[in-house]
């Protein structure tokens, strides 16, 4: 991309005291990750982390490029099937199965993105939804996914042949590291010159084009990156829970990730993490309520849209007058 004859992205000087809050937030997040497994049930925290990474990847697209994808479950689910199949049938270890799954999702993201970025707004959302639904029916029928039964009893195995991942605490540290890696990558992307161009596209695409940026390429790269990170989350989740199922590719999963990003705050760095924590906790602790979980989720969605449209973190940032 750099080799093309387009203007080098302008390095926007972000005041360092603005970034200081976000850096403080990252340190706090890391500290939380260190304490969490001793306070909460580690498997639950891992679920939160996988969904948090998924929501962050989704947020990269909607929050910073302004593209509402309604088919992100396709990337999440593809990776979980890929990781499950690789680990169970091919016997690949964790360190190969998860990158393989990430690559699968990235490839898929490239294809979906190439088709979808030609349209904007509701059309973009519809194209991604349609492609994801096609994929859903493929997975429903394909023999290797096990259909309704999914891929069960995926072995967790050993990391690099030494670390025994069947221990919940050991795998927790691995998942925490993966989450932190993905999160920092997104953070870096947002604050890079590349990220600034993405924001320019979000604000005014015509103007970005008039400035000489090939916006389609930027959008495609962002889309692929988002798909790959969603895949990283999905692949990790499959191995942690030893299960890849149709739930992961169903359109409701695409809806859930929208809800997570929205509740936390679109276009904020920490919003999706908090949003994922809120939604996963609701599902977990209100499981006894049965169908009411979806009703509670719906009410939260309505409350969010009506009362605090910026999301929890978004409103907080607004109050503090600092980006978070």
């Amino acid at each position: 991309m750099a080799a093309r004859s387009e203007p080098a992205p302008i390095a926007v000087a972000v005041p360092s005291d603005v970034l200081r809050h976000q850096k403080l937030g990252i340190v706090l997040l890391a500290a939380l990750l260190l304490v969490a497994p001793f306070v909460f049930y580690p498997v639950f925290v891992m679920k939160v982390l996988c969904f948090a990474l998924f929501a962050c990847a989704f947020n990269l697209l909607i929050g910073y490029v302004g593209l509402l994808s309604f088919g992100h479950a396709a990337f999440f689910g593809t990776a979980s099937y890929a990781a499950g199949h690789a680990a169970k049938v091919w016997g690949l270890p964790f360190e190969l199965a998860v990158p393989f799954a990430t690559l699968c999702s990235a490839g898929l993201g490239l294809v979906f993105g190439w088709l979808a970025i030609r349209r904007q707004g509701i059309y973009f959302a519809m194209i991604t939804l349609a492609l994801a639904q096609m994929l859903y029916f493929f997975y429903l029928q394909a023999p290797f996914t096990g259909g309704e039964d999914g891929i069960q009893a995926i072995p967790r195995g050993k990391l690099f042949g030494i670390l025994d991942l069947s221990n919940d605490l050991v795998i927790y540290w691995v998942v925490a590291a993966i989450f932190m890696g993905g999160f920092l990558l997104i953070y870096r992307t947002i604050h890079s010159p590349f990220g600034q161009v993405l924001k320019a596209i979000r604000e005014n695409e015509a103007r970005a084009i008039s400035l000489g940026y090939d916006t389609d390429r930027y959008k495609l790269v962002a889309f692929t990156l988002s798909a790959a990170l969603s895949g990283l989350a999905g692949g990790t989740k499959a191995i942690v829970f030893q299960l890849a199922s149709l739930t992961d590719v169903h359109w409701t999963m695409s809806g859930e990730v929208v809800l997570m990003a929205l509740v936390g705050g679109l276009g904020t760095v920490f919003g999706p993490v908090l949003g994922a924590a809120v939604i996963v906790s609701l599902q977990n602790y209100l499981a006894g309520l049965g169908h009411w979980v979806t009703i509670v989720q719906g009410l939260i969605f309505v409350a969010c849209v009506l009362a605090f449209r910026r999301g929890i973190v978004g409103e907080l940032a607004h109050l503090l007058k600092k980006p978070l």
């Binding site: 039964d149 999914g150 299960l243 006894g288 049965g290």
Partner: protein, 404 residues
């Protein structure tokens, strides 16, 4: 050297001393977790009814095993394997649950099957259908009580052919479960001397069955086999009634239909439907007595075979705990359950096979015409009884690794 010998002796003595303590009840109580669908399509078949059935088993046993209290907890797995496996892990790891009961939806049951094996607890299946649980996926920690896909296909398939329904047409839900049910039933039909005139696949959760039903009608097959489940079955039966298929002389065979489905459809629509179940409230005096007690607690709703299976399985589990004096080792508990013959008021005498399959008779029922029904929930007439040794898949054909 001498000191190390002393150490070894002390260590050995220590282990021997702690053994009786280890052979005890974990957490000072027996906790049974009923995990099923509390709110969605299987909530009537399983749901709160299974919780009530488990509580009745605990009460009938006396509320305590060897002086240790028994507790029943429950949760909703929303038919999602990831939600279900999450709850199961949490129950086993942090909440001291010793056994998980019921678990409809095959995908969730298969997930719990693996977790239970890994954590060495006990899994008593009543609601799930897949015969893989006692086949390739069989586990020394699992007992599959009430029914399975093989038994349904076999019961409905062979009994119908024997009672004259020798030409079939399949209406199959187009996904793994539907294909498996169709395949198993077709094999049974052919083996029993019947023939299959055709089949048609319909997408999952389709609202419109008209074109499929017209094909079935045109085939002139005596029996239309419904290899689908839940809402699809209900819709196909309703629409078949609108097309006058049963009135026209063809019979519907539901391969996975429960009494609550018939209750929901009404006799006018469901009449003539042939189905296989392992329990019906009006079978004999003891099933009537138990079902009456059940209905009193469930606002008059009669139990399904899944509820009956939960009751009987929990009762037998408690018997095994009493004989063993411990709930710590799930494998040992299940081994004890297999060793002891089963005997309960709902399924009578029976046994649990080495692959985890509970053996009891299955019954072929036909849904009554409205005129034949004498009162609420009087829905079935018994057409045939399939004896326990013929009702389930032969041990050697399941490919269960536990069978040598």
């Amino acid at each position: 050297m001498r000191r190390s010998w002393l150490f070894a002796a002390a260590a050995l003595a220590g282990t021997l001393l702690t053994l009786p303590a280890a052979a005890d009840f974990t957490g000072g109580k027996v906790r049974i977790g009923v995990l099923n669908d509390q709110s969605s399509l299987y909530a009537d078949i399983t749901g709160q009814g299974s919780v009530v059935a488990a509580r009745m088993a605990v009460e009938d046993w006396g509320g305590k095993v060897k002086g240790v209290p028994i507790e029943v907890v429950f949760a909703d797995h929303q038919n999602k394997p990831d939600v279900g496996s999450n709850i199961a892990r949490q129950w086993y790891d942090t909440e001291g649950v010793d056994a998980i009961v019921d678990v409809p939806t095959s995908s969730v049951a298969l997930a719990i099957n693996e977790i239970t094996r890994e954590k060495n607890k006990v899994f008593l299946v009543s609601g799930a259908a897949t015969s893989d649980l006692t086949g390739p996926k069989c586990s020394p920690n699992t007992v599959h009580w009430t029914y399975d896909t093989w038994a349904l296909a076999n019961g409905t398939g062979s009994a119908i052919v024997q009672t004259g329904g020798d030409s079939w047409f399949f209406l199959t839900a187009d996904y793994a479960f539907g294909h498996a049910l169709e395949r198993d039933t077709e094999a049974v039909v052919l083996k029993s001397g019947g023939k299959v005139l055709g089949k048609v696949r319909h997408p999952l959760n389709t609202p419109d069955f008209s074109s499929y039903l017209l094909q079935a009608q045109a085939s002139r097959a005596k029996i239309i086999g419904l290899a689908n489940a839940g809402g699809d079955t209900i819709n196909s039966i309703k629409q078949a009634a609108e097309f006058g298929i049963v009135a026209g002389g063809q019979n519907l065979a539901g391969l996975l239909v429960f009494i609550t489905d018939v209750h929901g459809l009404g006799l006018q629509t469901a009449q003539g439907l042939i189905l296989t179940e392992s329990f019906y409230w009006d079978l004999n005096d003891s099933t009537r007595a138990w079902s009456k007690r059940f209905a009193e607690r469930m606002n008059g709703r009669m139990p399904t075979m899944v509820h009956a299976g939960v009751y009987a399985a929990v009762l037998h589990y408690l018997k095994a705990l009493d004989a063993l004096g411990s709930d710590a080792d799930g494998r040992a508990v299940v081994a004890k359950m297999k060793e002891m013959p089963t005997d309960d008021p709902l399924f009578g005498k029976g046994e649990i096979r080495v692959d985890g399959r509970k053996l009891h008779p299955m019954y072929l029922f036909e849904v009554k015409k409205p005129a034949e029904s004498k009162g609420p929930w009087d829905y079935y007439k018994l057409k045939a009884t399939i004896p326990a040794d013929k009702a389930f898949r032969p041990l050697a054909e399941g490919n269960c690794p536990l069978v040598k």
